[in-house]
């Protein structure tokens, strides 16, 4: 088996989920190659070379790949795909954007959101909002796979492995970058944070989300939200946890003013410990919660902050 993992990076930094994808990849091979495609990616390359299990980091550092747009990034991956039996990327918005394009160009059926690796051709993945787990076997000569990072452990470090610089200047004539609105936050990223506290429609407005800040500070938590809270404009889209948002599996997940719709549960029910705070004792979220507190969130959030 020879495996290529596409590195996930942003703003010149390797994302923590890459190590988890590498962890998944190491279940089919003893060592993996990592592709870093981007612009000014020295730090990313360094971090990738230090992840245990990486044999070689292959680097394309070129302004043409600054925004990692799908069209030429897919062409690039296809260009170097030849020697590999498996191509893996995180099921992040970047991976989801690019990898199916790669798969189609290679004439391969992709397997999305893998949560378990049985052997080199057999994988588990959630379907129907996680209400069923499918075991699938790929008959493709090349496997193209996105990995649900939250389902895998991270990797330890190693001394830096070999780095290979590739000069592949592939232009993107189809699309171009215009602008980005990045959500600035000092908090850990949702999908790797050890604690997540999320607010729902019960928060009533965006200002009230500040009630979660002090608690998040004390717990080192990331702050998430339900779709209803995002749709209502309380918080930005990148905070949505769920089937069609971010999938999280922290040690502790605290759902505040969230009813527990199937689609929300799909994004958090693999958390180790779940706490639900809701004033409705019949809210479905209590069916998955380890600890439920039936109360008005406006009463108990300040209390919780001072109790921590």
């Amino acid at each position: 088996m020879s495996v290529l993992v596409v590195a996930e990076h942003e703003n010149g930094q390797l994302k923590a989920e890459t190590a988890k994808v590498i962890n998944a990849a190491l279940k089919v091979a003893e060592g993996v190659d990592v592709l870093v495609a981007g612009y000014n990616v020295d730090d990313v390359v360094q971090s990738a070379a230090n992840i245990a299990g990486v044999t070689k980091v292959r680097v394309v550092d070129n302004a043409l790949f600054e925004y990692q747009l799908a069209e030429n990034t897919a062409d690039l991956i296809v260009e170097i795909a030849g020697g590999y039996t498996h191509i893996l990327a995180s099921a992040s918005t970047t991976g989801k954007n690019t990898l199916p394009r790669v798969a189609a160009l290679l004439d391969v059926s992709q397997i999305s959101e893998v949560i378990d690796v049985i052997d080199s051709e057999t994988f588990k993945r959630p379907i129907y909002a996680g209400n069923a787990i499918a075991t699938v076997k790929s008959n493709e000569a090349k496997k193209v796979i996105t990995v649900r990072a939250s389902a895998f452990e991270s990797q330890s470090e190693q001394s830096a492995c070999e780095v290979e610089i590739l000069s592949l200047a592939l232009d993107n004539t189809l699309s171009s970058f215009v602008s980005v609105e990045q959500t600035e936050s000092e908090r850990p990223e949702l999908n790797v944070a050890p604690v997540v506290i999320s607010g729902g429609r019960g928060m009533q407005n965006g200002e009230n989300f500040a009630l979660l800040n002090g608690i998040a500070d004390k717990l080192g938590a990331a702050i998430g939200a339900s779709r209803a809270a995002v749709d209502a404009g309380f918080v930005p889209n990148d905070m949505q946890v769920g089937q069609t948002g971010k999938i999280v599996a922290p040690d502790l997940y605290i759902a505040v003013g969230i009813s527990g719709a199937i689609q929300h549960l799909a994004g958090m029910k693999d958390s180790k410990v779940i706490v639900a705070i809701n004033k409705d004792p019949d809210a479905p979220v209590f069916q998955v919660a380890d600890y439920g507190l039936v109360a008005d969130l406006f009463d108990v959030l300040p209390e919780l902050e001072s109790a921590l």
């Binding site: 954007n97 889209n237 971010k246 507190l293 109790a307």
Partner: protein, 250 residues
């Protein structure tokens, strides 16, 4: 400008899927089915383009057995001009669907194809990107805003770090995210009118696409169940449990 909108018939989003006792698949007998919610958003966007005078024709297409004509009629009632049903009983993978759609794109040459970003049954999130690859088109996935201007589509995408705006050269493939629009409901008169709109049926096997499965479904299981939890009486009790029992806070 012609717009093609592929739509999928799926389990209704309010229904919780159940696994068959023999673990071969999910049980869909007598389960309420509906248009995939992201496809509804795609239909709505296409119709808004038509109402704005940007689109001249909206063609809805669905691939599957006869039952998916119900969702095509819904698309017609919502305002699509015509519908195409690619008929097959085969269980298709996203790649097969993308290949069949690519045939229609070749034939009809739509400037824009709008699809849902994912279907809520297979949760694959692949078809739009694959179609873009096969037809060598630009792609704008997870769109929360789209503006057509000259030969370009300005698409704002919901990405993990926030929002990213791209300029796509037309013809393009765009996939919808939840915030793109709020789909309308079909009115009764429009439902009646939809019955007279054209619905063409094409047998999938006449399109020259190899539909042999590439991925075998070996088993479908229930996810592991969570243990029933406890209701605590106070914040104090909650914090004490988290600290001493669950040991997830210090």
């Amino acid at each position: 400008m012609k717009v093609l909108v592929p739509i999928k018939r799926v389990i209704d989003y309010n229904v919780k899927a159940r696994v068959k006792p023999d673990n071969t698949d999910v049980d869909l007998t007598n389960v309420k089915m509906a248009m995939n919610p992201f496809c509804e958003i795609a239909v709505e966007e296409a119709i808004r383009l038509k109402e704005a005078g940007t689109a001249t024709e909206v063609i809805a297409v669905s691939i599957g057995d006869k039952a998916c004509q119900e969702q095509l009629r819904t698309a017609l009632a919502l305002g699509a001009d015509k519908a195409i049903h690619i008929q097959t009983d085969a269980k298709l993978e996203s790649l097969h669907v993308a290949k069949l759609l690519a045939k229609l794109v070749d034939e009809h040459q739509p400037e824009l194809v709008i699809l849902g970003k994912q279907s809520i049954d297979s949760d694959n999130n692949q078809t739009g990107q694959m179609l873009a690859a096969l037809t060598r088109r630009s792609q704008g996935t997870f769109a929360s805003k789209m503006v057509i201007d000259g030969g370009k589509a300005l698409v704002t995408r919901e990405v993990d770090g926030g929002l990213q705006t791209l300029s796509l050269l037309l013809p393009a493939v765009v996939t919808t995210d939840l915030r793109l629009n709020e789909p309308r409901y079909a009115s009764l008169p429009n439902i009646m009118k939809a019955k007279r709109k054209p619905l063409e049926v094409i047998e999938a096997d006449t399109l020259g696409v190899n539909l042999t499965p590439r991925i075998e479904l070996l088993k479908v299981e229930e996810p592991s169940k969570r243990q029933a939890g406890v209701i605590v009486d106070s914040v104090e009790e909650l914090v004490s449990k988290l600290r001493n029992e669950a040991k997830v806070i210090s």
